[in-house]
């Protein structure tokens, strides 16, 4: 989230698209009802299904899954055509005025530089025109045909309301009504918030779905203001923490990157991370990359990381592929290229696509370690549970080791919520049986691995042998110790840069924040964005002061919000070029002639003059980006692409199937239905129900009561066509698997007409499996395709093709 859950109460318009906040985030949804009840805010829901969110919406429109970009480009086009643009914001705070390289272009669904064999682009033309001073050229009048704004205008012109209806199946009148509601928030005194979740991310172009809305929000001037923002609703209570801490094969905590194979030396690595400002006076905060990186390395390897050995750069693995994401890992397992898998709080047999392929992959492992508080399907993948898990137990030789771990309520620590709040929690119960904390388990692994490396050596024992392990009890580090490390501390005394005799912080003290990080090895911090969460003043995450001055919804003394306890990112953009709030009733920070101050921690150097320094300090431009250069694999602008399995061809670019740069493994492509496949005519989507949390709560009695049995949802029309009875049984199958389910026949799903063809939607909730108190059922991933988003590899769970038929009730 750019903003915070509590800030949603400040909005005028909530757009829930690519999510179902009432269903999946009912507690956070209170801020939506609050905005509606106290401000008269309106709620718009756009979804293939009439969801629980739609039940309390002011306006609902259906959309075919996987066509969000077309819809949002339609809205952007509408705003452009109807002069519903926050012009001053657009000109000053976005890169609309920047001039783009003449070589850049778009044709037939592709940007310049596409290489079909590599399924990748040469992105060299995706750049600005650079002037002789080294800065990007801009045309503040937005007249130059090569400026971002005009290129974007041209790019979205084809997304007329008629085209939106043709692609998305959203009736034109409904689309126009929503476009008009959204466009109203281009007023500087109106705010719109975008609430989205897996409905946008779980597509082969998920990142671009989100980007398109971000662009719209920038055009409307809704970023950085109270009640605005791009608000990702995270699916697990600490999934924000997972990404922040870089639990990805290609990330280092704090969104730093693991080096690539081509970056063999530290210099080579740093050379592409200079982040020189692209406009005069701009901050380009990533210029501090080295400080963050060195402090991370010092935190990892302590004294073993020195200036001489480039801060132990050689200890870091170097990626030979863009990333070793879960899809790749399972493809490797499937192909017999993986021996062991350690799973910690992870149930991929339910959570990743194409269950049959996953099970085959797991069967080829030599060992599987499952660290989990619950019994999981993955740990039991080798058990035969009839049709729900048809494993051939005798043929599986994988050794499975289960290590019971503690649940969140059984240990202390911090969880990061969607709003970037690090909230400390305390143990509420003792762990059952022999369950041990994840930290204890990892410490034991560490101890034994270290001993093995010390004894046996090996190719490169140093990263393990020299790992810094500064805990009072090395067998069981405390969450408190780790939190202190996360915040960072001084390795030697720090002095005032203006007065070298004046010591600012003694050795071994907690850092006040990331601004204190150094690239000389005198500070250690393993996640720079969290720095400030545990200072000499104590554990900021444990704060529980819910005072909220003037009811602005920021609660600055409640827990700790990264970065720097800032509650709303880009909050400088809440004020105009002179530093005055666009809307006095939404004041966040203002320029008083000498400095920035207000309710929130300024996302700006406190003394940076408003006219000089742009609000988007992480970007080299100082502005936000409508044109995103080479940062996204699909191109600088989004473009409408169909899902890999689509009932209709891409009307914008008929030759293109799916996302042209998404990675597809050959054996998976063979398991995908063709576009408009007559054998798989129905557009399926998967989703969560409020009664359950993923695959956990089927182990909980009351949740099992509230939603006991696997079902699929279909329209009354499809039910009639297929002879399906309300509450009767159906079989649903894709090219990858087949499930039997109860049928919920509903008015809430209605057939859509896309490109002249009636499209029936089949809805498949995900929560059932062969473990737990609920009735045994099939997980939705039995059906879903093994392909992910081109940038993040998030699987395409939201759009694929199936067929359906009525069946007799299975005999027990």
């Amino acid at each position: 989230m750019t903003n915070a859950w509590t800030d949603i109460k400040n909005t005028d318009l909530v757009v829930i698209m690519g999510g179902n906040a009432a269903e999946a985030h009912p507690c956070g949804f209170k801020w939506v009802t609050e905005a509606k009840a106290t401000r008269g805010a309106k709620l718009v829901v756009v979804d293939p299904r009439f969801t629980r969110s739609a039940a309390v919406a002011d306006y609902y429109a259906p959309i075919r899954q996987g066509t969000d970009i077309a819809f949002l480009f339609g809205v952007i086009n509408y705003c452009m055509q109807n002069n519903k643009v926050q012009w001053e914001y657009l000109k000053s705070f976005t890169n609309a005025a920047f001039l783009v390289n003449d070589g850049f272009g778009w044709a037939d669904g592709l940007f310049t530089g596409y290489d079909e064999t590599k399924r990748d682009y040469d992105r060299s033309t995706w750049s600005y025109q650079i002037g002789p001073d080294g800065y990007a050229l801009v045309d503040e009048t937005l007249q130059n045909p090569r400026c971002v704004w005009n290129l974007l205008k041209e790019h979205v012109a084809k997304y007329t309301p008629e085209m939106v209806e043709r692609i998305c199946g959203t009736p034109k009148d409904k689309f126009l009504k929503i476009a008009a509601m959204i466009a109203e928030t281009s007023s500087p005194t109106k705010a719109m918030t975008s609430m989205y979740a897996l409905g946008w991310t779980q597509h082969s172009k998920g990142s671009q779905n989100i980007r398109t809305m971000a662009m719209l929000q920038l055009i409307l001037g809704n970023i950085g203001i109270r009640g605005g923002g791009m608000n990702a609703l995270r699916g697990h209570s600490n999934i924000q923490g997972l990404t922040d801490l870089g639990l990805m094969s290609n990330l280092i905590p704090g969104y730093l990157n693991i080096p690539k194979e081509t970056e063999a030396t530290f210099d080579a690595y740093m050379s592409t991370r200079a982040y020189k400002p692209l406009r005069p006076n701009q901050i380009s905060y990533w210029q501090n990359y080295k400080k963050f990186f060195v402090s991370f390395m010092k935190s990892m390897w302590g004294d073993a990381a020195t200036a001489e050995n480039n801060w132990a750069y050689d200890y870091l693995p170097k990626l030979d592929v863009p990333d070793y994401d879960v899809l790749r890992a399972f493809d490797m397992a499937f192909n017999g290229k993986m021996n062991g898998y350690v799973m910690q709080g992870f149930n991929p047999l339910q959570a990743f696509p194409n269950k049959a392929k996953l099970a085959a992959g797991l069967s080829k492992l030599k060992f599987l370690v499952v660290i989990d508080p619950l019994e999981t399907e993955t740990a039991r993948f080798w058990e035969n549970h009839g049709p729900h898990n048809p494993a051939d137990t005798k043929a599986i030789q994988t050794e499975v080791i289960q290590l019971p771990s503690t649940c969140f309520a059984e240990d202390e620590g911090s969880l990061v919520n969607s709003g970037r709040w690090l909230q400390w929690h305390w143990a509420a119960a003792a762990p059952p049986g022999k369950a041990m904390s994840d930290i204890w388990i990892m410490a034991q692994l560490h101890k034994r691995l270290k001993a093995l490396y010390e004894k046996e050596g090996g190719a490169l024992p140093d990263p393990i042998v020299k790992l810094k392990w500064p805990y009072a009890n090395p067998d069981d580090p405390t969450p408190d110790e780790i939190a202190r490390e996360m915040n960072g501390y001084t390795l030697s005394a720090q002095y005032d840069p203006k007065d070298a005799t004046k010591m600012t912080l003694d050795k071994g003290k907690q850092l006040p924040g990331f601004a204190a990080l150094k690239d000389d090895g005198s500070t250690a911090c393993f996640c720079w964005i969290y720095s400030g969460c545990y200072t000499e003043a104590g554990n900021m995450m444990a704060r529980r002061d819910n005072t909220d001055k003037d009811n602005v919804g920021l609660f600055p003394n409640w827990s700790y919000s990264w970065p720097a306890n800032r509650r709303i990112l880009y909050n400088r953009a809440s004020a105009d070029l002179n530093g005055k709030s666009w809307d006095a009733s939404r004041k966040l920070i203002e320029w008083d002639g000498a400095k920035w101050s207000g309710y929130d921690v300024p996302d700006m150097l406190p003394t940076a003059k408003p006219q000089d320094v742009g609000p988007f300090i992480m970007n080299a431009e100082g502005t936000s980006r409508l044109f995103t250069l080479g940062m996204m694999r699909e191109g600088p602008f989004p473009s409408h692409y169909e899902p890999f399995e689509s009932p209709v061809a891409n009307v914008i670019a008929p030759k293109i199937r799916g996302n042209p740069v998404a990675r597809v493994f050959p054996n998976d492509l063979a398991q995908m239905a063709n576009t408009g496949d007559a054998e798989y005519p129905y557009a399926a989507t998967t989703y969560r129900l409020t009664e359950h949390f993923h695959y956990w709560t089927k182990n909980v009695y009351q949740n099992a009561v509230a939603q006991p049995e696997f079902f699929v949802e279909i329209s009354e029309q499809l039910a009639k066509e297929k002879g399906v009875q309300h509450g009767g049984w159906v079989r649903v199958w894709s090219k990858r698997g087949s499930v039997n389910a109860k049928a919920v026949v509903t008015k809430r799903i209605k057939p859509l007409v896309c490109d002249g063809k009636a499209i029936h939607v089949v809805g498949i909730p995900i929560h059932w499996g062969f473990v737990g108190l609920t009735k045994p059922g099939y997980p939705a991933n039995t059906l879903t395709p093994f392909v992910g988003d081109a940038n993040t590899q998030t699987p395409e769970f939201k759009a694929f093709l199936v067929n359906i038929e009525a069946i007799a009730a299975p005999t027990a």
């Binding site: 009432a22 009912p26 629980r52 409020t690």
Partner: protein, 312 residues
């Protein structure tokens, strides 16, 4: 935001109401205390409800209810009905609004309405099995319950359920145990969107009127408060976007009242019946006193004898 109730005190506190605050007691007469307690009410705002079932689960958790894990039967609603161990239930109705052409998904939390004039209590034959406190809460006192099911017949809302195992009638208590120590009901505590709020009945009505205004501003011209007069008003009220058609919400009765059959049965009918029985006994006694026993005489015996002898 409706001000949430403060957390409970950690030290033991005296209950705010108890047996001394009874206004009605089934099959018995009570003298209500001179001073009625402030009437409480739970307000369920349908327009804020997202059907998340947190109330349902919170109710089960607080009251330690474990209904069976059932089947899906074609809707989101589960269990399929109120049960002796499921005192509140989200009921889901899909309705195509003919006026707007829009689908509406009407979700209503069903459960005891805590009528001011409770039909269950009126119907109950067991002394003290159903009581009404002066704050309006209608509570079932299980140790006095005989499991006859008359409350089921007396209720205009089809709420009480009789356990097949314990043979006790069960329903929402409005968390009388929580309210007694200054807390709101568990469902209200758990509701994430403040679709359920709890307080004095007057405050709830005021709060509801604000909600109704908001709904009217959104085009729900017939929005209103459901506080049916037919049962003297209720201590659980709904804000309905379509208050003119309560039956849309899973057959919420438009004009609930205690059924006249129940009225006859439990009202004068019973007195008349007992009177008739007593009269019959009295008539016999009087008749006997007046006429004495009817005895066969010597004469009768002789006549019988001669009849028999004549035949021989």
């Amino acid at each position: 935001m409706f001000p949430p109730l403060p957390n409970p005190p950690t030290q033991t506190t005296a209950p705010k109401f108890g047996p001394a605050d009874l206004m009605r007691r089934s099959a018995s007469t009570v003298t209500p205390p001179a001073q009625r307690q402030t009437e409480v009410a739970k307000l369920i705002d349908i327009s804020k409800c997202i059907g998340c079932k947190a109330c349902q689960v919170a109710c089960n958790e607080w009251n330690e209810l474990t209904p069976p894990i059932g089947d899906n039967f074609g809707v989101y609603q589960n269990p399929s009905d109120l049960l002796p161990d499921q005192w509140t239930l989200m009921r889901f109705t899909e309705w195509d609004n003919p006026q707007t052409g829009n689908l509406e998904w009407l979700i209503r939390k069903d459960g005891c309405m805590h009528c001011e004039d409770p039909g269950c209590l009126k119907a109950c034959p067991a002394p003290g099995a159903i009581v009404q406190y002066t704050n309006g809460i209608v509570d079932f006192i299980s140790e006095n319950c005989i499991g006859c099911g008359y409350c089921v017949k007396g209720c205009p809302f089809n709420i009480p359920r009789i356990s097949k195992t314990t043979h006790k009638a069960k329903k929402c208590t409005l968390c009388s145990d929580r309210v007694a120590v200054g807390q709101g009901p568990a469902c209200a505590k758990a509701c994430p969107t403040q679709a359920i709020v709890f307080g004095t009945k007057d405050d709830m009505k005021k709060w509801a009127s604000g909600r109704v205004d908001d709904l009217k501003s959104r085009g729900f011209a017939n929005a209103g408060l459901y506080d049916p007069a037919g049962v003297g008003g209720t201590h659980v009220m709904y804000v309905l976007p379509h208050a003119d058609q309560p039956q849309l919400y899973a057959n919420l009765p438009a004009d609930p009242k205690i059924d006249p059959l129940v009225g006859v049965w439990k009202g004068k009918g019973k007195v008349a019946g007992l009177g008739a029985m007593a009269l019959a006994v009295l008539a016999g006694v009087l008749h006997y006193l007046k006429n004495g026993p009817e005895v066969a005489t010597e004469e009768d015996e002789r006549k019988a004898k001669s009849l028999v002898d004549g035949a021989v």
